[in-house]
Amino acid sequence: MDPVILFFLFGLVAGLLRSELKLPSALYDSLSIFLLLAIGLKGGQGLATQPLLPLLPQIGAVIVLGVLQTLIAFSALRLLFGFDRPNAASTAAHYGSVSVATFAVAAAWLAARDIAMEPQMAVLLAVMEIPAILVGIVLARGIHRDTDWKSLGHEAFLGKGVTLLLGGMAIGWAAGPEGLAPISGLYFDLFKAVLALFLLEMGLIVSRQVGELRRRGLSLIVFGLAMPLLSATLGLGTGWLLGLSVGGLTMLATLAASASYIAVPAAMRIAVPEANPAVSLAGSLGVTFPFNILLGIPLYHWMATRLSGA
């Protein structure tokens, strides 16, 4: 098994056994800054060697994809799972958005198998973080006069994650592959090893979701498994319309299937205070994240191969 997955499982087991293992929070922050920058640099360096215009329809398509996922998740949670309005809206926003750690695991998975993907996947990652947040807020509160769209937009576009992805991409694009060469020893060659350490912490965090999962019974688990499968299918369809390669298809399916656990919870805590953050996180972190990295990615790749072979 891939060592990054083993690191995740180690963190999970250590957490479940209530080990005293704890990563300093500054280390966790530093690792996530590194990963976001490195993903951005990699994507930007790829973009430097191709025209940017074809990106526009792709960006439009994944915005629609994110909105659609959020609406579907919201309806399902309201009608099938009996969630109240704020919790349904907040959880739907988590699932309509994306997870950077899942992206990183999928990128490492593809790289280990020498499967190329389009460099703009990093752009799409950044783009897909945002629409679900705005849709989630509208779903929770309706469109009010007093909604502070300015500060919401600020939150969405200038949050830490999007800033680092876009900044990294801009640097990678401006410097190009040769420009980045003197710093690639850190940002590219050590990427997987840093990701492994990050996943150790993710395992510890996931292990803390178990209590909430127990309390909420089966419904979170069912939703947390069904939703990524549905989203992955939508993602594959979108990727097929856009004419992506197998690697690109796999990645877009993975992005769609992934659920946010950093940007969206922070935004929802402020914009939809009535929603219980423990519920959405138990779903996105406790069920969907492990499912995606353990089983989802190989499955989506298999589906992508079928689709592009057809």
Partner: protein, 103 residues
């Protein structure tokens, strides 16, 4: 016994979630609070254990020294706006300050 001239003010201490720090700073600025101090914390309360193990479970501790009326106005605002949806506990205590004009 005391030879120093001091005046009484109220110290409002608030324990709450770190995720709303920016909101609270904006509120205090809007309500005309002239100074405050914030530090990081963890803890337990009616909303469960918040052990600062990651962003979602970090607490902060806000201290504001001001006139009683302002402290009450600030707490009334916090109560109306945040008490029902956020982990939050607050208390008043009495302190003596040297330069009352500052508070």
């Amino acid at each position: 016994m005391s030879t120093m001239h001091t005046e009484k003010r109220t110290l409002l201490t608030v324990f709450t979630e770190a995720s709303i720090e920016q909101l609270l700073i904006r509120d205090m600025d809007r309500l005309g609070v002239r100074g405050y101090t914030i530090s990081d914390a963890r803890g337990k309360g009616s909303r469960g254990v918040r052990d600062a193990s990651w962003d979602e479970s970090r607490n902060i501790r806000i201290e504001v020294i001001c006139a009683r009326e302002q402290a009450e106005a600030l707490l009334a605002h916090l109560q109306a706006r945040y008490y029902s949806n956020y982990a939050m506990v607050a208390c008043f205590s009495e302190v003596e300050v040297l330069r009352p004009g500052k508070f």
